[in-house]
Amino acid sequence: MDCQAIREQLIDYLYRELPPEEWVRIEEHLLGCRECQQELVALQRVTATLDQWQVPEPTRGLVERTLARLRAEVIGVSSLGGGAEVSPATPFLALALGGLAAGASLGLTAHLTPHQGTSLALAALGILWAVLYGGMFLAALGSWAPVKHLASVALLAGGLAILLTPVLSIPEVVEACSALLGRAKGSVVLNVLLFVVGGLYTAVPLLVAHRIRGQQPGPVFPSQGLASGLLYLVLVAPVFYLQCAALALGVGATWMAGAIVGVLAGGPAGLWLAGHRAAHA
């Protein structure tokens, strides 16, 4: 092998990128060729000079910051499909919010409708709603159990609601509620009102939940709000049924349209607020 061919392989020799037989051939050549030895030394000087460019370690806490961003921006969403970590306070917060929402909702319904059930039935209805609302807030907080658990809660609650309908006098409640809100048919003002109420109904809890949850700085991904919002909407559906499922179709659609708009706006807005707050913290 001539010197030119050897020299063309010296870089690969230095970087140990040659097959063993080539390696041996070059070693043997170098032993007897002073010019090629000098060329190798010259190349080693180049690489040794490059070696002097060392970079200091990153600042302390980069691992923690990376994992925090991961939890805030990625796992928060993927946890809806499983694998998230649980903040110890989250379930309690969700239950508290759920209880408040259920209490307010039940109180409003009781006020609007003639009470035809027993106190026990009303209490059971309250517990049922608290479970549903709690599930909704857990979904919106987005940092608890996988979606299958939430879906199970929703399905169980929905099933219970149907089974308990005769006991809870729900038909009467629904009928009265429907009669009341059914007057909205043909009324532009009432339809607009229902749309706004439906929007607020979903947007406000999502906005609050995401603002509470999103404590890490970093860009906001509206898809996070959308994902949890859609799950929230799925969980809203049985509650909607309980509250006035027998509404005239047009009026119900108005309400639901508002709810969908609320879902689309509430989550991303809450995340934006959270990110804005974190950025200025």
Partner: protein, 187 residues
């Protein structure tokens, strides 16, 4: 199986702790990778975070039968590309970074005389690297500072092994001339 690929398989199985191990292990090398290519240390940290986020999001696409590092640096290269597109003034950024990084590195050297000399060498090496075409610089940095083999680099960047090899040869030849011109190597 590559040890890190095994850890990545655990990540695919939902083990967040395994991912944390990978972050701890590769944060330093990735940071150095970005500092050498981008310059600004603060940006480099952001890019490290962005890379790990993308790694996690793309975890299902990783083949545990292949090596982890080339896959990781492939993603890092995409992150770098996006960064370059976002900041069309990379060259200007590098100029600022020279001062910033040289100063921070100098803090670590105790002897004052050595400090100045070393700072000069680093500046010359960095400036010489800047003379290389970006794709050549990327390949050389992966081989020289991160120990990726030609095949790994080819896999990470979607190139042929021959292209990787010729870029490294070209880059070192050009650096040799440039370093010699700057007096860092004997004529």
């Amino acid at each position: 199986m590559d040890a890190d690929a095994h850890v990545m398989a655990q990540v695919q199985g939902g083990e967040l702790e395994a991912f944390e191990r990978l972050v701890k292990q590769y944060q330093g090398p990735l940071y150095a990778f970005f500092v050498r290519l981008v310059g600004r240390t603060a940006d480099a940290e952001d890019l490290v975070q962005e890379t790990f986020l993308r790694v996690y999001k793309a975890r299902e696409t990783f083949d545990p039968l292949r090596a982890f590092a080339p896959w990781l640096y492939g993603i890092a290269t995409h992150v770098l590309g996006d960064y370059g597109r976002r900041q069309e003034r990379v060259r200007a950024t590098m100029a600022r970074a020279v001062e910033e990084l040289t100063a921070s590195e100098a803090m670590e050297v105790s002897d004052v005389g050595d400090q100045a000399a070393r700072r000069d060498v680093i500046r010359h090496v960095r400036d010489s690297m800047q003379q290389l075409p970006e794709d050549h610089r990327l390949v050389l940095i992966l081989r020289h500072y991160h120990g990726l083999r030609y095949e790994d680099i080819a896999q990470a960047l979607g190139l042929s092994v021959g292209t990787v090899k010729s870029r490294i040869h070209y880059a070192l030849a050009k650096l040799r001339v440039e370093l010699r011109r700057r007096g860092l190597l004997e004529a």
